[in-house]
Assembly symmetry: C2
Homo-oligomer: 191 residues x 2
């Protein structure tokens, strides 16, 4: 990942723009919790820039990649080793899952958030078995004043869709998700 | 703290603007590591907005308050209990200390950063004895593409300046500071 303007080497701004154009066709948008995002035909993923919503956009969301907040060293080593890159030719399907967590979550101390996230919800441990099949990039949006705290982008081959659905269902049933107050699930295919 | 636009309840954007006007007189600017900020007569602290550098500004820096990243529950309870608010009448002196940490810091896992920050550098433990005297607010700037990762604002009464200098010297001598690649120390008095 290259540096963008004054951004740190691991910080990349990304704009997700839903409109009539874009490299991804939006198949469906589901409101998991809270309001849905409006239906739109296509999505562009614009790396390196935070762009405002423009005339012709149905909606747009912005986030920045950044350092991991909860993973510990053995987990990070394992994750780095098995996480596939974005842009694989076989990964013709994608999901964009914007999430907002509650004020109660953000008021927790770091050790309390880690205990919910991993010790009790097994967010990393549950995800690891899926990772060779699912590429993933997390974007932070909370400090940008965006409507969601996180935008996670996933890319996978079509035959792994049902495994991915299992992972998402497992996480949604976890204690961590009791702190999720808004979640939308956008599914896409390469256009 | 009230909510600002779409920002979460604990997220407040703040602009620090150095120019010919403002409620704080800049007494001196010291480059602790890396380049200094240009000399300017006064500083405004503008809460609730991220403003671009405008004509007439010598420089401006932007950050957002956010949740604590390293404190554990017993530390948070103690910190919340003894941290004084900003704006005390007796606190006529202030410091603005912008810091940027190295890529090596941001590449660490969470447990490694915590070990450097507190287990070995005693950042929280060393700061606690000073806290009833020094009011402090941390602003995150890394995700905003700013030249610094953090902007910390301190307010204190003039008789506590030398104690504050001791605290700052203790932190600068810690292992954590080996990851600091840029630091400026701006000292101010209420105008």
């Amino acid at each position: 990942m290259t540096s963008h303007g004054q951004y740190g080497a691991d910080v990349m701004p990304v704009t997700f723009r839903a409109s009539g154009q874009g490299e991804w066709v939006i198949e469906r948008i589901t409101a998991v919790r809270g309001s849905a995002l409006a239906p739109a035909p296509r999505l562009s993923v614009i790396e390196g820039r935070l762009l405002p919503t423009e005339v012709g956009d149905v909606w747009s969301l912005r986030g920045v990649t950044s350092h991991a907040r909860y993973v510990e060293r053995p987990e990070k080593t394992r994750l780095d080793a098995i996480s596939p890159p974005l842009g694989r030719r076989l990964a013709t399907h994608a999901a964009l899952i914007p999430i907002r967590k509650s004020a109660a979550w953000w008021a927790l101390a770091q050790d309390e958030r880690r205990a919910v996230f991993e010790t009790r919800s097994r967010h990393i441990a549950a995800s690891l078995p899926y990772l060779p099949r699912v590429a993933r990039r997390l974007h932070h949006a909370r400090e940008l004043g965006e409507p969601f705290d996180f935008l996670t982008w996933f890319e996978l081959a079509p035959e792994h869709t049902s495994a991915f659905d299992d992972l998402v269902a497992t996480l949604r049933a976890s204690e961590e998700w009791s702190f999720v107050e808004a979640e939308v699930d956008v599914r896409l295919v390469r256009g």
